[in-house]
């Protein structure tokens, strides 16, 4: 049995301890916002937050995150804004992604948004070289110029 807490909801799951968090989220919990891209932590499409820190869920055994607070893209806005009735339904990073029309196919963007949120939590005003060194997510559509533009806008906001 694995006890995990995802987006504030506690689950007791009968899964193998070495099953990666990615496949628990997708195939066991039906939380499909977190994407499978490479399976070896090379692309970042599966990025979630574990206790507020970005983690690539495709190589994270479920046993390593028991009792942790896990946040996925579906729970990001509430994790950031709280759940009061008038709380915004988008985090500021998600809103910036709309304002700057960042996504193309959008498949990598859940992971990209989770990674950028983590970057801005740790470094609210990242320089270009901070952005370069901390974001290694792959986007095959080439949204990266707009990712940078949106981060710059958030950094000065």
């Amino acid at each position: 049995m694995a006890n995990i807490k995802v987006n504030g909801v506690e689950y007791q799951l009968d899964v193998e301890p070495d099953m990666p968090l990615l496949w628990v989220l997708r195939d066991e919990l039906g939380l499909t916002g977190t994407k499978f891209g490479c399976g070896i932590a090379a692309c970042g499409a599966c990025t979630v937050h574990v206790n507020g820190n970005a983690r690539r869920s495709c190589v994270t055994p479920i046993s390593s995150v028991e009792s942790a607070d896990i946040t996925t893209i579906e729970g990001l806005a509430e994790a950031v804004n709280g759940n009061a009735p008038n709380a915004p339904t988008l985090s500021r990073v998600q809103q910036a992604w709309i304002d700057h029309q960042v996504p193309q196919c959008g498949y990598c963007q859940s992971g990209m948004i989770m990674a950028v949120t983590d970057l801005l939590n740790n470094n609210p005003s990242p320089s270009d070289s901070d952005i370069d060194s901390s974001l290694s997510n792959i986007c095959r559509c080439g949204s990266t110029p707009r990712v940078r533009k949106a981060i710059r806008a958030l950094a000065t906001a």
């Binding site: 090379a42 988008l90 996504p103 193309q104 498949y107 370069d132 095959r140």
Partner: protein
């Protein structure tokens, strides 16, 4: 471009009120058939692109896949503008995968431009598929959605709707139609101050025959086209709710992991399941002709169990083939044959014989994988003699037919559920069907939905690749140093006719293609043959410019006197880039220009060499003449996208064949431009008033040559073989210091 004027505008009432207006690209008999076999409860199906409901909401059905290019927004904009609809009341939906929504305009457009859709050439050559049957496809490719479906179907349907709504209002008010006008989803009559919403008129409009040739707006009348409107698909993509093919789930779903013969075409000989069947959640092991699959109740369990399965595949004559062997074969074949004519102008042979000087350049590029972020996957559910399918595809109708034929069902027994695509780039075009075939055969063994998923490694190793190509050039110069002949011998096949042609005024040209087939499956890859041919031709033109002692920018302009669109984008890009002005130490600019898919693109790359001999691309300035722009923001986005896709391939892209199979495993050995390598990109959209050109592909071809041409200025080293990662450019001397 001339398109047939033969078309069928149709309309029908919606049950419960409202009207559907459509532009039929297929024969009326097909609609009759569909109405007889598909329609129910008194409904009437037509080739319906636009639906107006009584609450004044409008739905535009887009018969193209949304894979990040913004097509659901841009095509809806075209219909909405011609209707004079209120954009806030417009919904865009992907059209159902039925032949009523076949995007035959795309096919007609292709047929007019190229003869036959480029990406269909291979299958046409190899099968009995007739062009007439191709209207059954519902393809998204060839940078074609806006310029064919949009310009012809969407705008006509929108304009017809507008005229019908005006006619209804005029009749109801008893006034001449000429006194009525439309604005923001209403028809108005100024003299009486009356107005009615489209929704209030829709049911009556359904009684009218659509006009055969509705008047289209002049560009000066556009209210929606030409505006940078937000994409309708983006909100769902920032909260994780957008559903891609891989996101199809049901409670009883099973998951398949597959191992296909590593050497293309080899058959499965034997399987030893080992302990796989005793692993938790594993249901079956399924043997197919060229592969084995493990089906389990969770994808990870299936994948882990597959590791325990031992397989033997048959030996083939290709088991020892390597990339080096393939390149050697190309050189042998190029040396042995002068091939087939691609283009002959003047007398290149005589010009070569009389030349004062000749330069040569032998170029080559490797196979490339598409590597869309969403790995290939397909869910099929066989039940009750029917099948439901969820898969990210650039061709919903083609997939419906494919699943039907593989699964032994009639086409109308297969329902294809449209989903978003996690990237396409050509991987998900018709005929690249290995995943679909495997998923169908596996799911056929079950009565519950089965989702077959390629791992990233499967995706890398079981693609249909951008071909590896060799291209050997010679150029002749006269005593005054003028270029007099251009000779090019390259390996085929030709997937995009004309891609190897040059716009430059060189009097004698001999461009010939030599077939040199390999066992590696190939297909269209973003921009198809333009991706490699532009690297070849725009690099070699640069060699000729330098040999002539001329500035590469001026040299191009001089030889493009008859190509004003090329000259204009070169000039706009040069001005935007500050070409010819002082650059930081160690930086240089390279230039390239190419016409593809109806658009003309110039790119200028500003590049430096890093201490490790790799290149850093600092800035790309791009000027693109695509005739007219529908949505400037999505247009810029597509240009940025194409440049980065092409730059990833130029810097890192190399599929390596070893022992007959693809040696690459995953992203670490098939890398992409990430934030740190992303250049600043400046896009200039140049409107020329020419026919609308494509945007999804044309910015990809020039980038590799632009970077190579900059690298030459910096290092004196001419990179004739991609990718750049294989070249150490650190210990070289700038040409200015030679």
């Amino acid at each position: 471009m001339k398109l047939s004027r033969r078309r069928f505008l149709l309309s029908a009432a919606i049950v419960g009120g409202g009207v559907l207006i459509g532009y039929a690209a297929t024969r009326p008999s097909r609609h009759r058939l569909a109405n007889e076999t598909v329609a129910e409860n008194g409904q009437r199906f037509v080739s319906s692109w636009i639906r107006i409901d009584t609450d004044n909401r409008v739905t535009v059905y887009v018969p193209h896949s949304e894979m990040g290019q913004g097509v659901h927004t841009s095509l809806a904009m075209m219909a909405a503008d011609e209707m004079d609809a209120d954009w806030e009341l417009i919904n865009a939906e992907q059209a159902p995968a039925t032949d009523l929504f076949a995007n035959g305009d795309l096919i007609t457009g292709f047929a007019a431009e190229f003869g036959v859709p480029a990406f269909l050439d291979s299958i046409l050559a190899a099968s009995s598929v007739k062009v007439a049957q191709l209207v059954n496809l519902q393809t998204t490719g060839g940078s074609s959605s806006v310029r064919f479906t949009g310009e012809h179907a969407m705008r006509n349907a929108g304009a017809a709707a507008r005229e019908m709504l005006i006619a209804c209002a005029a009749e109801r008010w008893g006034v001449p139609a000429e006194q009525c006008y439309t604005q923001l989803s209403h028809v108005h009559h100024n003299a009486s101050g009356r107005s009615l919403s489209f929704g209030e008129l829709a049911t009556a409009a359904a009684e009218l025959e659509p006009p055969e040739n509705p008047r289209l707006k002049q560009p000066s009348e556009f209210n929606i086209m030409g505006k940078a409107l937000s994409r309708r698909d983006i909100p769902a993509k920032v909260v994780g709710s957008a559903k891609f093919g891989i996101d199809a789930y049901s409670n009883d779903m099973l998951f398949a992991a597959i191992r296909i013969s590593p050497v293309f075409g080899a058959r499965l000989v034997s399987v030893d399941p080992g302990e796989a069947l005793s692993r938790r959640g594993v249901k079956r092991i399924i043997e197919l002709e060229d592969s084995v699959a493990v089906v389990a109740d969770n994808y990870w369990r299936a994948k882990e169990a597959l590791k325990l399965v031992k397989t033997e595949f048959e030996q083939t004559e290709n088991d020892r083939v390597s990339s080096a062997d393939i390149y050697s074969q190309f050189e042998r074949d190029l040396a042995a044959s002068s091939g087939k004519e691609d283009r002959e102008v003047g007398d290149a042979e005589t010009a070569m014989a009389e030349a004062r000087d000749i330069i040569e350049g032998n170029y080559r590029v490797p196979y490339l994988a598409h590597a869309p972020m969403e790995p290939m996957n397909c869910t099929v559910h066989f039940h009750d003699g029917k099948a439901d399918v969820w898969t990210s595809t650039q061709d919903n109708l083609g997939i419906r037919g494919r699943v039907a034929s593989i699964g032994g069902l009639g086409e109308n027994d297969v329902t294809l559920h449209p989903v978003y695509l996690g990237g396409g780039f050509g991987r998900r075009l018709p005929f690249n069907w290995n995943m679909i075939d495997h998923a169908t055969l596996i799911a056929k063994e079950f009565s519950v939905p089965v989702k077959t998923v390629f791992s990233r490694e499967d995706d890398m190793q079981q693609d249909y690749y951008r071909p590896a190509v060799a291209s050997n050039f010679r150029a002749a110069f006269d005593a005054q140093g003028n270029v007099t002949a251009w000779e090019n011998r390259y390996t085929g096949p030709i997937q995009t006719p004309g891609a190897a042609h040059i716009p430059y005024a060189i009097n004698n040209q001999s461009i010939r293609v030599v077939d040199s087939d390999t066992h590696v499956p190939i297909a269209a890859w973003r921009s198809v043959d333009h991706s490699q041919q532009t690297f070849f031709t725009e690099s070699f033109v640069d060699e000729i410019a330098h040999r002539s002692g001329k500035n590469p920018f001026q040299f191009r302009l001089e030889l493009l006197a008859n190509h004003p669109r090329h000259r204009r984008v070169l000039e706009v890009a040069a001005e935007g880039a500050g070409y010819g002005q002082n650059l930081p130490d160690g930086h240089a600019m390279g230039i390239a220009v190419q016409e593809s898919f109806g658009s003309v693109v110039a790119e200028i790359a500003e590049v430096s060499v890093l201490p490790d001999g790799q290149l850093q691309v600092h800035k790309v300035t791009c000027a693109i003449d695509c005739g007219r722009v529908i949505n400037p923001d999505t247009a810029e986005q597509q240009v940025e996208s194409g440049i980065i896709y092409g730059l990833s391939a130029a810097l890192y892209g190399e599929i390596t064949i070893q022992n007959g199979a693809v040696a690459n495993q995953n992203f670490p050995d098939y890398d992409s431009v990430r934030l740190a390598q992303t250049p600043e990109i400046q896009v200039h959209l140049v409107e020329s008033g020419e026919a609308i050109g494509g945007l999804g592909e044309p910015s990809t071809p020039p980038i590799a040559a632009a970077v190579a041409n900059a690298a030459y200025i910096l290092t004196g080293q001419r990179v004739r073989e991609l990718p750049f990662k294989n070249h150490d450019l650190s210990r070289t001397i700038p040409i200015a210091q030679r």
